[in-house]
Symmetry: C2
Subunit: 348 residues, 2 copies
């Protein structure tokens, strides 16, 4: 190792990726899109291949104390497929690599794979390879997902134009609330092992953190209605962080209406119990795996036909910045307080 020492935390996840890939050159003419979006695009003989990869590490991304292995396997696939859908593409194949410590039994891995296969089955994806080795500590899951898209029909983060409408699928903040519930139950269990968990009426939020579903249905619907988003990203790190990615890559500003952010009733009620503002959960919570995208104004009529899509703002000139217009009529600059992979304190 060299003598200088810069802390990784000082760059943050996106800063680190930028730093490490800033001199990356591409050599193959077929490399249409490289590092810096939800997935990469390779031109292959007329059609185009979409590739993405994600690593999940025990103690960083998941806690096996409250995460059933079957759900974990399902989720590990789901989050990768979400990146493929966010390119307006269809996933077709995955590879799965596992690092396993000796405390895991074959039966435990069977449960994990049951979830992996369930997700493959639901989303019509083939598991085609992988690697299995031992780890020194905990479980490590690295999945690569491959998909396909008609030539040049993929949607990046960089195509939004001033005046485009900002849309999001489903509802937000629920996964963060689900995580708070599970963390609370874990704490209670560790302090008083006899106490039964009280999670009745919390099935929606807990389901959102333990078993997210990528929004294949939204992609199908948009394609059916012939709505082609001008930019798209999946909501994994919180709405703020994702909006800022779209603005930065598209060189635009944005106005987000707080009152338009969609919530499930259970999210709002439980956020109040925790004394958290639901808006904060949506902006900074992460792990919702909804789709955030922009459309041209002329598609507004069509978009309103879906109850699963909310128009939450519009794109502006870059110098206006990305702002939140609050219910009270105030303007706040949007800042990325999303999940930072190097800030392990935050997500436990």
């Amino acid at each position: 190792m060299s003598e200088e020492r810069t802390d990784i935390a000082s760059l943050g996840e996106f800063g680190l990726i930028n730093h490490l890939t800033k001199n990356n050159e591409t050599r193959n003419a077929g490399t249409l899109l490289s590092v810096g979006d939800d997935a990469a695009i390779i031109d292959q003989f007329g059609r185009q291949t979409v590739i993405t990869t994600d690593m999940l590490i025990e103690g960083i991304h998941f806690d096996l104390m409250y995460t059933p292995l079957k759900h974990l396997g399902y989720k590990a696939v789901a989050v990768n497929l979400s990146d493929i859908y966010a390119m307006f593409a269809t996933p077709t194949h995955i590879t799965v690599s596992l690092g396993i410590s000796s405390r895991f039994s074959v039966e435990a891995l069977d449960e994990l794979y049951e979830g992996i296969y369930a997700a493959c089955n639901k989303y019509n994806v083939d598991l085609i390879g992988g690697d299995t080795c031992s780890s020194q500590k905990g479980l490590i899951i690295s999945i690569t997902a491959i998909g396909e898209v008609a030539p040049d029909k993929y949607v990046t983060r960089s195509g939004a134009q001033q005046g485009d409408l900002l849309c999001v699928s489903g509802d937000l903040g629920a996964a963060y609330i689900g995580l708070q519930l599970l963390e609370r139950e874990k704490k209670i269990f560790l302090e008083s092992p006899g106490v039964q968990p009280d999670l009745q009426n919390k099935t929606y939020t807990i389901g959102r953190i333990l078993k997210p579903e990528p929004r294949a249905d939204i992609i199908s619907w948009l394609q059916e209605k012939e709505i082609i988003p001008t930019s798209m990203i999946d909501v994994s790190d919180g709405l703020s962080s994702e909006i800022l990615h779209l603005c930065k890559n598209s060189n635009t500003g944005c106005v987000l209406y707080e009152e338009k952010i969609p919530f499930h009733d259970e999210t709002k009620e439980t956020a109040l119990e925790f004394n958290i503002d639901p808006t904060t959960c949506a902006l900074s919570g992460g792990e919702d795996y909804e789709l955030l995208f922009t459309i041209r104004q002329e598609d507004y009529e069509k978009i309103t036909m879906s109850e699963q899509i909310s128009v939450i703002g519009y794109m502006t000139e870059v110098n206006e910045g990305a702002v939140l217009l609050t219910k009270g009529g105030n303007k706040h600059k949007l800042i990325a307080q999303g999940w930072n992979a190097f800030d392990t304190e935050k997500k436990g």
Copy 2:
């Protein structure tokens, strides 16, 4: 976790993979080859895409006490490309996912990426994506490599026929000797930190463990001479283990001539210093990343034109099994004593 508990070590790496994937179904018509070879093959619009993935974990697959990070980055790419070449294909793209503990600085990661980029540059491969997150312990590198091959020109492990000649590129056993040298120096250093390492005249074997090169040159040469192997695999786990893979998948037996196994002089000399039989290093050592393949007898004349390829045996009827014919004229059944990813004692 369920109540039954089967130790993973009781299945071994290949047993575990078989167990976990035995009910794997493929749904996409384009999935030509799934789990069970060096890489998977997807038919995409006329040409075919080859995909492989490998995970390297600190303390299991590498020891940073004697592995420079630049070499590690290079090697992590090289071992994946080796799997693509072993399909008779050409690598084009990689994704790199890293799990990083807080003890690593940005400068350390720069060194790792320097090696990754050096390998991409040398083998004309594009880095197109990845994921970077924190790990609880040590460094984790997961790479997926993508390549291409003309329709149905890929070579699997399963095409060998009785009478085919068994060939291997380069020389064997050197990486295992290099590892023994590095382990010896580490021990000396830990006991007497002042002593300078004595590794003069050991540059070949140490280079083989620290900076392996995938045999792109062999694939090019075979293609140029229009020799299409009937089966192929790369030598990562030791010659015995790889021969048994070819025999099992092709449903053949095999005779391997001990005297034909190719060695570098430094490998033989250093093996003697360690009181190890060089043949054992080749059979069970692993990490040589040479290509093991079978050809039809009519290609024998052509093959002899390459000094880089040795004919080391021939394929037989399945009931004859896989046997080693020793220099002394004895027959031994070949057994896989290769590198077992769950036997961490062996490789340190």
